[in-house]
């Protein structure tokens, strides 16, 4: 059994499901599971963390924590770590987690295993595996030396536990006294609402160069909306200006591992595969039966996406209605 500190994340007043994954993995291994929740006006979210396995929730509520900055968040987490002495500190490999955790690691003088795709506990120790060379290989991480083990874990890697609403946690208020914060966030320009982020979605539908223009991506967006999927793209589609770079999947884009990845008119270049091959189920729709994408596809359709994708949307709609 280990003492584990989970960095909880919330956005717009809602806890992120990736936080539940981390809590579930820790609690189900019998660890003493703590969560820290940072923000402004977020006290109301603490109780829900307990449903997923947090025994103690440390709440750092302060106007200075309204917008994430690495400087402010790291100060709070590091001082809690000194007081609590956890053996393990985990966060999601989200935009926040990946920016923040190296600073925490530096301050604690310990190593960090980032973007882990497998994480478990063995005899009170965290055991993780992470991808290298954009998922063309993976390796186990050995932590050398003393101090807590730090890791960030990729979204969807652990699975969301079933919540137990009968559980409650001890709520501890953290005293926040920020100093020396130099960076300031002046504005957050929201992205398109409604559709999930490619890195977090449990289903991703991606399109390639063959979509021919930005408007045609509507075909994929409509299908995505039926099943709550995110829309991704190949680099060729991004370079052609059909989609913003933030939606690019691959070695120089986002690495995703959803439960279902549907590649429409994407050839399956090695750099694209690097970003999606760890998806649990892969579907490829492509006119060319020799396209390399079929080598990683669980289900392949040799056909024209302009005919298949709309038909698929109708079929999925029927399924959803039943």
């Amino acid at each position: 059994m280990a003492k584990v500190l989970v960095i909880a994340e919330q956005r717009d007043g809602r806890l992120k499901k990736t936080t539940f994954e981390l809590l579930g993995a820790s609690a189900s291994a019998g660890n003493e599971t703590h969560a820290i929740l940072l923000g402004d006006g977020i006290q109301g979210l603490a109780a829900e963390l307990a449903h997923y396995g947090a025994q103690t929730v440390h709440v750092a509520n302060d106007p200075g924590l309204k917008h994430y900055t690495a400087e402010a968040y790291a100060q709070v987490i590091v001082s809690l770590a000194h007081a609590l002495q956890p053996e393990v500190i985990v966060a999601t490999h989200s935009p926040t987690g990946r920016d923040l955790m190296p600073k925490v690691a530096a301050r604690l003088g310990v190593g960090l295993a980032s973007d882990c795709v497998a994480a478990s506990f063995e005899a009170g120790k965290l055991k993780v595996r992470r991808p290298l060379y954009a998922g063309k290989a993976t390796a186990e991480v050995e932590f050398v030396g003393a101090g807590p083990q730090l890791a960030t874990v990729r979204a969807n890697a652990l699975g969301i536990p079933k919540p137990d609403t009968s559980k409650s946690a001890s709520i501890q208020n953290v005293t926040v006294a920020l100093s020396g914060v130099k960076t300031t966030v002046s504005e957050v320009v929201q992205g398109q609402a409604g559709r999930p982020d490619v890195t977090e979605a449990s289903i991703v539908i991606s399109g390639g160069r063959s979509l021919k223009n930005a408007e045609n991506f509507k075909i994929l967006e409509e299908t995505a909306d039926v099943i709550g999927a995110a829309v991704g793209a190949s680099r060729a589609a991004v370079d052609a200006g059909f989609r913003p770079h933030r939606d690019q999947v691959g070695q120089t884009g986002k690495v995703v591992s959803p439960n279902l990845y549907i590649a429409c008119g994407i050839s399956g270049a090695i750099q694209h595969l690097a970003g999606m091959r760890s998806s649990k189920v892969i579907v490829a729709i492509n006119t060319d039966p020799e396209a390399p994408i079929f080598q990683v596809a669980d289900y392949g359709i040799v056909g024209d996406l302009f005919a298949v994708a709309p038909a698929l949307k109708d079929e999925l709609k029927k399924l959803k209605e039943h």
């Binding site: 956005r11 917008h67 994430y68 690495a70 989200s94 935009p95 926040t96 190296p102 690691a105 530096a106 190593g111 960090l112 980032s114 595996r129 991808p131 290298l132 060379y133 954009a134 063309k136 290989a137 390796a139 186990e140 050995e142 932590f143 030396g145 130099k182 960076t183 966030v185 002046s186 957050v188 320009v189 929201q190 992205g191 398109q192 982020d197 977090e200 289903i203 913003p244 939606d247 120089t252 279902l260 090695i270 649990k280 189920v281 892969i282 490829a284 079929f294 990683v296 669980d298 289900y299 392949g300 359709i301 040799v302 056909g303 024209d304 298949v308 038909a311 698929l312 079929e315 399924l319």
Partner: protein, 257 residues
């Protein structure tokens, strides 16, 4: 301004990865090495900042075995003024590399800004930038899409969750980690490639920087290649039949819908 850029040498994105015989690492024979793509944006940004501030110098620094000098020369050919090679072992982790880079930069007379990539495409750690900044005691802004420089500060637009853009201002000195879109990196011209070959590359040993094996915090072991995929199912028929069958399989067999 004294401008610094951290650059990493990585295998070309086309590389097929093979493991060594005892799976303790990869087989590096025959690998073509390149500058990590995000570091190209970092170098370009440094060069543009120098152009706007006459009298500035751009120094590129890379830690790794002797081969990384070739990548330093690529940056010199793009237009960097100076290069520092930190002789670190192949197996050095982020912490050790960052400690060495920070120590090397501390030897410099003055640092105004440091550029890096948002992540290296080999280990994808996304750590070294933050660790270097921390080692230097300066703030950082990562995943930067756009930067506006004014005297003593930089206003950055950075990519965050769900396609949102955060506007962050940091005083200088600071470290800026580049995302694709920051700029369009230039190609090195042939005359510059020739000139770069003759430029001196300063070499620093880990021992000169107070870095040793004791700074290694993580090690990789038991490498694995992704398990080969079973041949998938091809779904035949006209588009309507194919779509119907696919939807059925996704629900009943794969259970993902």
């Amino acid at each position: 301004m004294n401008i610094y850029v951290c650059i990493k040498q990585v295998p070309d994105t086309e590389t097929k990865i093979k493991l060594n015989t005892d799976s303790s690492g990869i087989d590096t024979t025959g690998i073509k090495w390149i500058m990590s793509p995000y570091d190209e944006f970092a170098v370009e940004e440094a060069l543009r900042l120098r152009e706007k501030n006459p009298g500035s110098t751009v120094t590129v620094v890379s830690a790794g075995p002797l081969r990384v000098v070739e990548t330093l020369r690529t940056a010199l050919a793009m237009g960097a003024d100076n290069a520092i090679h930190i002789d670190s072992p192949e197996s050095a982790d982020s912490y050790r590399v960052a400690k060495a880079i920070a120590a090397a930069l501390k030897k410099e007379p003055q640092i105004d800004i440091v550029f890096a990539g948002k992540e290296a495409i080999d280990d994808g750690a996304a750590q070294v930038s933050q660790l270097v900044a921390e080692g230097l005691g300066i703030p950082y802004v990562t995943v930067v899409l756009n930067a506006e420089y004014s005297a003593g500060s930089v206003k950055c637009r950075r990519e965050v969750e769900g396609g949102a853009i955060e506007v962050v201002t940091t005083p200088l000195p600071a470290l800026i980690a580049a995302q694709k879109g920051l700029n369009e990196p230039r190609y090195a011209s042939l005359p510059n490639i020739m000139k770069a070959k003759k430029k001196e590359v300063k070499v620093l040993k880990e021992a000169d920087l107070g870095v040793s094996d004791a700074d290694q915090k993580i090690r990789y072991k038991n490498f694995q290649l992704p398990p080969p995929k079973q041949a998938g199912k091809k779904i035949a028929g006209d588009p309507a039949t194919q779509a119907k069958e696919l939807a059925r399989l996704l629900r009943e067999e794969a259970k993902v819908i």
